[in-house]
């Protein structure tokens, strides 16, 4: 164990235009907040807390990306943006962890997300009241209402300059989006044509990439490499929005720092975070008055469980036994079809510019509860070839021949709500260790019968839409997206990990702020909700501090 001996009083971090930005060095201080994870949750929370005058260190296990040098126009070389450390995956429907759901480096998954920036609906926060008890599912109301979160949706939409339609037809009526909508790409035209033929309402998608210049960032030029890092800064990732704000306000963003353990004192209050730096074997201690875990729904419970001690033998914040439980994904099934005209699906942002939330609700005539959003997808060749090969069992000459028509395929996919279940969970592996010597995550997932009915319905609907649009040779790829739950938010300390302020029921100076806190999964992409919750949490912390309710 060594404490920081560095005498430098300041550091430099990559800016977003290739410049170096001065940054405070807080490694020897007891900071107000040490946040683990610089993604959608940690980045927003860290920036707002620093701006409120708190001293803040944000640790991230991966590099601090320089968008002008580190991002490449290539699928394979961009794998460095993905969390590829070993994780064991099991259950009846094992989740493919990594490429489609886990980011590595400052900005987290927002560096490679598809930027669909949707609000959850008022109903999403009241699932238990609306649906009643569902067998084998752990439905709960959120301890937050939509109305409490609404101003924070508004706040992060402004900060990220979401581009969307003047009138968005679903959910609670809202103001116009800060930026105008993007034009449709070919795959979005296909979705719109199919929906119009079938009488399904469809609308421009709200997307977190600029459609007009904003401050020092240019509008999108439709490179189509959004999932591989944006080289022009048009994409409103956390890396180019909240992280520069955090550094400017005096936070230290410490890259290549893998958290190993959260420490606590005899009273059970947390005191800081032990972490490895720059691939070395020494553990560093960041002392902090408060700790926030924001590592997403696998690494967050893993850190809490790996921090078990004699005082907290089952891990931190885990008196309920719910840390790691009710792990959720979204069903992300996709349907592709071949068209007569060239689609060139690699062009433009992957969400393409259109979506429909028509099925994102409990439908009176359906044999399942909850619903799904249908969006546009546009995989590049490595990804597309993997999907079509797996989906249709294609290999050999047949695969190569099929791939010759890559430019004629168009695809759509869902974000489908998945019910929380006790039997879906993240635990730490009994024997296997990672490169740091830390127990690796073991993730168990099986769909609920409701999930399976929802997926079957969505596949049918997507097939109808593509066929109505003139598509042939239709096929389906079974996929999942997003990692949610595992530190669910609730009012009852017996069945939840944090309260509405993302504060641990057990340890008053320990917070969780990322997709882990989702009580239910909702039928929309989660990034905007994670960011809105983080923005609200920052305001709540300022309020709690004012009343001396936190250290």
């Amino acid at each position: 164990m060594i404490d920081e001996k560095n005498n430098e009083s300041h550091l430099f971090a990559p800016g977003i235009h290739g410049e170096q930005v001065p940054m405070r060095d807080l490694s020897r201080e007891e900071v107000d907040f040490c946040i683990v994870g610089a993604g959608a949750g940690g980045g927003v929370l860290g920036a707002k807390l620093a701006e409120a005058g708190f001293s803040v260190v944000i640790l991230d296990a991966g590099p601090h990306w320089d968008p002008t040098k580190d991002f490449v126009s290539d699928e394979t070389a961009s794998r460095k943006l993905i969390w590829t450390d070993e994780r064991i995956t099991g259950g009846e429907d094992p989740v493919e962890l990594g490429a489609n759901n886990s980011g590595r480096g400052v900005g987290g998954s927002t560096v490679h997300y598809s930027m669909v920036a949707m609000r959850a609906h008022p109903e999403d926060f009241q699932r238990r009241s609306l649906e009643g008890e569902i067998a084998r599912a752990e439905l709960l109301n959120w301890p937050l209402t939509f109305d409490e979160l609404e101003p924070y949706y508004e706040e992060v939409e402004q900060a990220l300059q979401i581009a969307g339609p003047t009138n968005y037809p679903w959910g609670k009526r809202r103001k116009r989006y800060p930026q105008r909508e993007h034009e449709l790409n070919a795959s979005a035209q296909v979705l719109v044509r199919g929906c119009v033929k079938l009488g399904i309402p469809v609308a421009p998608a709200p997307i977190a990439t600029l459609s007009a210049p904003h401050k020092d960032r240019p509008p999108c030029v439709y490179r189509g490499f959004c999932n591989y890092g944006c080289t022009t800064n048009a994409k409103s990732s956390i890396l180019v929005t909240y992280i520069p704000r955090a550094i400017r306000a005096g936070a230290e963003v410490r890259p290549n720092s893998m958290a190993a353990q959260i420490e606590h004192d005899k009273r059970g209050l947390v005191t800081g975070v032990l972490h490895f730096r720059d691939g070395g074997e020494d553990l560093f201690r960041q002392r902090a008055k408060n700790v926030v875990v924001a590592g997403y729904a696998v690494e967050t419970p893993r850190l809490l469980l790996n921090s078990a001690s004699s005082l907290f033998p089952d891990g931190l914040a885990n008196s309920s036994g719910m840390v790691g439980k009710c792990f959720m994904v979204h069903s992300g099934h996709q349907v592709f079809a071949k068209f007569r005209e060239r689609i060139n699906q690699y062009k433009a942002p992957p969400p393409g510019g259109a979506l429909t939330e028509h099925f994102n609700r409990t439908m009176p005539d359906a044999d399942f509860i909850c619903g799904y959003t249908i969006e546009v997808v546009g995989p590049h060749p490595v990804d597309f070839a993997s999907r079509i090969s797996a989906a249709r069992g294609l290999w050999g000459a047949e695969l190569r021949r099929t791939m010759l028509d890559y430019n004629y395929y168009s695809g759509i996919g869902i974000v489908g709500e998945i019910l929380p279940q006790q039997n879906n969970f993240v635990k730490v592996h009994e024997t296997e260790r990672d490169q740091y010597g830390l127990p690796i995550p073991h993730v168990i997932f099986s769909y609920h019968e409701n999930d399976r009915r929802l997926i079957a319905d969505a596949k049918r609907k997507m097939k109808e839409i593509l066929e109505a649009a003139g598509g042939a040779d239709v096929w389906t790829a079974d996929r999942m997206a997003h990692l949610l739950g595992t530190c669910r938010m609730g009012n009852d300390p017996m069945n939840s990990v944090v309260n509405a302020d993302c504060r641990s029921h057990d340890i008053p100076n320990l917070f969780v702020c990322d997709g882990s806190v989702f009580t239910t999964s909702t039928g929309v992409n989660p990034s905007l909700t994670i960011e809105a919750i983080a923005a609200r949490t920052a305001d709540r912390i300022v309020e709690l501090r004012r009343h001396n309710a936190i250290p």
Binding site: D70, F71, V72, S73, D74, E75, T76, A77, I82, T84, D85, E86, R87, I88, T89, G90, P94, V95, E96, L97, G98, A99, E183, L184, N185, A186, C220, V221, Y222, R223, G224, F225, T231, T232, E341, R342, I343, N344, Y346, K347, H380, P381, V382, F384, A385, S386, S389, A390, G393, W395, G396, A397, L399, R400, R401, M403, L404, D405, Y406, N407
Partner: protein, 207 residues
């Protein structure tokens, strides 16, 4: 071996013609230069394993339309990933760590070949027999003790085929074949609509 026909719709297209265009930035050029020029030497697999894997790759992603020198190299990149032990971010419960999984699976494919075809190694079989072996592995009906350690079906679909496919379609030769625009930084695209083709995208043959 019979030559198979994989006729591209874009016979005049070469993505590398855009090397110095506004579609390619320095960092992307560096990555692709390495892919084209610095094919790694084999360090993980044994010679026998390389023979078996080369024969497998020739069936999963046949390139019989190309001479040896024209083929997209695949085995060296699988070898490099295993040599460096770079992970995918997930491993199915029933699979051993990837290095062991590959070794056992290659041994298993040979075992299956010998069991089905009178003691012949996989790489010595004719292509039809090789496909029979691979179909057995794909369906999980392949005889051999190695498959008790590595589940055949799981390895075939979630590891073997995907590894080969992902290396092949990351190569400019494959991009030419399917008319993929390839790198696009900083220029991007203008004609995004159905049937829209920017002048710098792959143009189709008119015949």
């Amino acid at each position: 071996m019979e030559r198979e026909d994989f006729r591209s719709h874009y016979s005049g297209y070469d993505v590398l013609d855009k090397w110095s265009s506004p579609d390619w930035d320095d960092q992307t050029r560096e990555v692709i230069r390495r892919r084209l020029e610095n094919v790694p030497v084999v360090r993980f697999f044994t010679e026998q394993e390389v023979r078996t894997l080369t024969a497998i790759v020739d069936r999963i992603l046949p390139q019989s339309d190309r001479s040896e020198i024209e083929k997209v190299p695949i085995v060296p990149w699988i070898d490099e990933k295993l040599h460096e032990d770079r992970h995918n971010g997930y491993r199915y419960e029933e699979l051993p760590p990837q290095r062991q999984a590959w070794r056992w699976a290659l041994a298993g494919i040979d075992e299956t070949a010998r069991a089905l075809f009178a003691g012949k190694a996989f790489c010595d079989l004719d292509v039809q027999s090789q496909d029979v072996v691979l179909r057995h592995v794909e369906r999980g009906t392949s005889p051999g003790d190695a498959w008790k350690i590595v589940p055949a079906q799981g390895f075939f679909t979630s590891v073997l085929v995907i590894a080969i496919v992902q290396i092949y379609y990351a190569h400019p030769i494959a991009w030419n074949e399917i008319g993929y625009n390839g790198p696009s930084s900083p220029r991007g695209h203008v004609r995004k609509w159905e049937g829209g083709v920017d002048p710098w995208e792959a143009q189709e043959d008119h015949d």
